[in-house]
């Protein structure tokens, strides 16, 4: 064969080999123009044969990489190959990470000074590596034990938390069958567990696991069967949670709750007895003073009668105080029985009780629309009773008492109002108004224990609402309380 023919035959062979190779290959001439490229190259960069003769940067702007041209040129000139040149660029089809190898071709004379450039698209691999690294950071950061196993229950991975919780290092555990390292007693037996996993279920259970040192510890675990996109089982992930702390907290909570219940019962008992025991001597003081007043009035001076009267009044005051305190203290511990409450009906019911004994007075008490609410009827009754009784009491010195009761929806609250034209109060002392035992009037002016409004506030707050008031000395007072529309 003629030398030229031989050369051409050799070339044809070379081309066929290059074309068959899976790896994207390009042959560039001395000017870095494309002489020949294989189908893999055209596929990777989505190009056609019409780019032959062009420079790489002319085919795809992504190849316009600073230093790339120099690197390739230096291969031609120095014959030193370019190895593992990694670059990440945006191509029309997406961002790719490429590893480029280039070497000078020892070529027949016409192709002197040519360059073979091989491209490796490592985009996916880099992506996976990055995901894996993140995954490792995650596993290292998780405080729960995470173990992965294959379908034969051999341990594939063992995170730092697993090392800490179970005592075996990753080196000791990875590769072993799970039984060699995991000894467990749990609420579900192994057969049932494996059956559920086969069905694709995540299985959770509680139990005990033996640490390397031999100690059994409480744990909670979840086992997740892992499948590939086609549903084929790949293995399992087991996550274990150290249950000891939770169990301890649960135990403490139970103890604490029972302590609290015990304390409440004792307190209840105590207040009940105390109030009964306090009432007895009060009865005697009042009763015997009354005997003096009723049976011996003829023989006593006006002053003596007045002194006795003071004794009686104070005794009655104390009796009322005991009742109020008992109610106040009981309130904190009683459970609320919540339901719909017809506030209008509640008020209307109370009117006779509140107006008892006031027949001689002129009292105009009117209730406009009162929206129904949700709450504890008995407690809300107490609220209305206290507010209305106060209004009646503090308007006593008025020739014509006017008490108006109303309610409305404002936003997601229900706001109720009791307004009177009575003695009012000094706004300066507004902070004391709802305090326990706090009074803004002398007992001689208006009797009272100073617990009534405190009780109102307590009840309303328990319902999730607020109380507030406005008053002016001598002209009257207005009290509002709000309740949330929804259940407290």
């Amino acid at each position: 064969m003629a030398p030229v023919a031989r050369i051409e035959e050799a070339l044809a062979y070379a081309r066929s080999i290059v074309d068959l190779v899976q790896q994207p290959l390009a042959v560039l001439d001395r000017d870095l123009r494309l002489s020949h490229a294989n189908p893999a190259f055209y596929d990777l960069f989505e190009l056609d044969a019409d780019v032959v003769g062009k420079r790489l940067a002319e085919m795809r702007s992504a190849f316009d990489i600073p230093g790339f041209v120099e690197a390739l040129t230096s291969v031609i000139e120095s014959s030193t190959p370019l190895r593992d040149y990694e670059v990440t660029r945006d191509f029309p089809s997406g961002t790719k990470t490429l590893v480029v190898q280039a070497s000078a071709l020892a070529a027949p004379r016409e192709h002197a000074d040519a360059l073979l450039v091989a491209f490796d698209d490592v985009s996916e691999r880099r992506e996976t590596e990055r995901a894996l690294r993140q995954h490792e950071y995650l596993l290292a950061a998780i405080t729960d034990t995470v173990i992965t196993l294959d379908t034969q229950w051999r341990i594939l991975s063992w995170n730092p938390a697993a090392e800490k919780f179970l005592g075996y290092t990753a080196e000791e555990a990875v590769g072993k069958r799970s039984e060699e390292v995991i000894t467990i007693e749990q609420s579900i037996d192994r057969k049932a567990l494996r059956e559920k996993l086969t069905l694709g279920e995540v299985v959770s259970s509680q139990g005990k696991i033996k640490q390397k040192a031999g100690t059994w510890v409480d744990m909670e675990s979840s086992t997740v069967p892992v499948r590939d996109a086609d549903g084929k089982a790949l293995g399992y992930v087991v996550i274990m949670h150290d249950f000891r702390a939770t169990k301890e907290l649960e135990r403490q909570l139970r103890e604490h709750t029972s302590d609290v219940e015990e304390a409440n019962k004792e307190l209840d008992s105590f207040t009940y007895s105390v109030s009964h025991d306090l009432r007895a001597p009060l009865r005697a003081i009042d009763g015997f003073s009354r005997i003096l007043v009723e049976d011996f009035s003829g023989r006593m001076s006006k002053e003596e009668m007045r002194l006795l009267d003071v004794i009686r009044k104070n005794t009655q005051q104390m009796g009322q105080l005991i009742d109020d305190l008992l109610a106040f203290s009981r309130l904190g511990r009683k459970e609320m029985s919540v339901g719909p409450v017809d506030m209008k009906a509640l008020c209307v019911d109370l009117v006779p009780e509140v107006l008892a004994g006031t027949e001689a007075r002129s009292i105009d008490m009117r209730a406009k629309y009162l929206p129904p609410c949700i709450g504890d009827r008995a407690l809300l009754r107490q609220v209305w009773l206290n507010l209305l009784a106060n209004a009646v009491k503090y308007t006593r010195k008025r020739e014509h008492a006017v008490i108006s009761i109303s309610g409305e929806e404002i936003g997601d609250e229900l706001v109720y109002k009791v307004e009177d034209n009575g003695a009012g109060f000094d706004m300066q002392y507004i902070d004391k108004l709802f305090g326990v035992f706090q009074r803004l009037h002398k007992p001689a002016e208006f009797e009272g224990t100073g617990v009534g409004l405190a009780l109102v506030q307590r009840i309303v707050r328990r319902h999730g609402g607020r109380v507030w008031a406005e008053g002016a000395l001598g002209s009257g007072a207005t009290f509002w309380f709000s309740l949330p529309k929804r259940s407290p």
């Binding site: 009940y272 109030s275 009964h276 009432r279 007895a280 005697a284 009763g287 015997f288 005997i291």
Partner: protein, 135 residues
């Protein structure tokens, strides 16, 4: 016709007893006997006494009011005597128990005559000489 009405008062506190008896004695139609505790009261009744009404304090030493009540309701001789319980407050927990034992009338101390009249009316009796209960 106008025989004074026998009322048994079972009350441990001397002061309460004195106040109660004073209130009831104002109406000269009453004849009061007082026992200081449940044991004494049961003995008194065993001896053949038949008061028309028993005023029973719930808080007593030795046998408490409820226990006395149970005894009264057990014996044929005494179970038909009307009982009014005495209590310091209407929220007395023993009141509920007393109701369950068949007593549905109570007085919140101090006992006063009008409270007494109301209490026995609840039992279906009327004061004027304590007529027979209406059927």
């Amino acid at each position: 016709m106008n025989r004074p009405v026998d009322i048994l008062i079972v009350e441990d506190s001397d002061e309460d007893a004195e106040l109660t008896m004073r209130s009831l004695q104002k109406q000269k139609m009453t004849k009061l006997h007082r026992c200081s505790d449940g044991v004494e009261a049961l003995e008194f009744l065993k001896g053949g006494a038949m008061p028309r009404v028993i005023l029973l304090d719930l808080k007593l030493p030795k046998l408490n009011g409820l226990e006395v009540l149970r005894e009264l309701k057990k014996s044929d001789a005494t179970k038909s005597i009307p009982v009014v319980v005495l209590t310091s407050s209407k929220e007395d927990r023993d009141l509920q128990a007393a109701y369950e034992l068949g007593v549905n009338s109570y007085i919140v101390k101090p006992v006063e005559f009008d409270k007494f009249v109301t209490a026995i009316e609840t039992l279906g009796l009327y004061w004027v000489g304590l007529n027979e209960p209406r059927s």
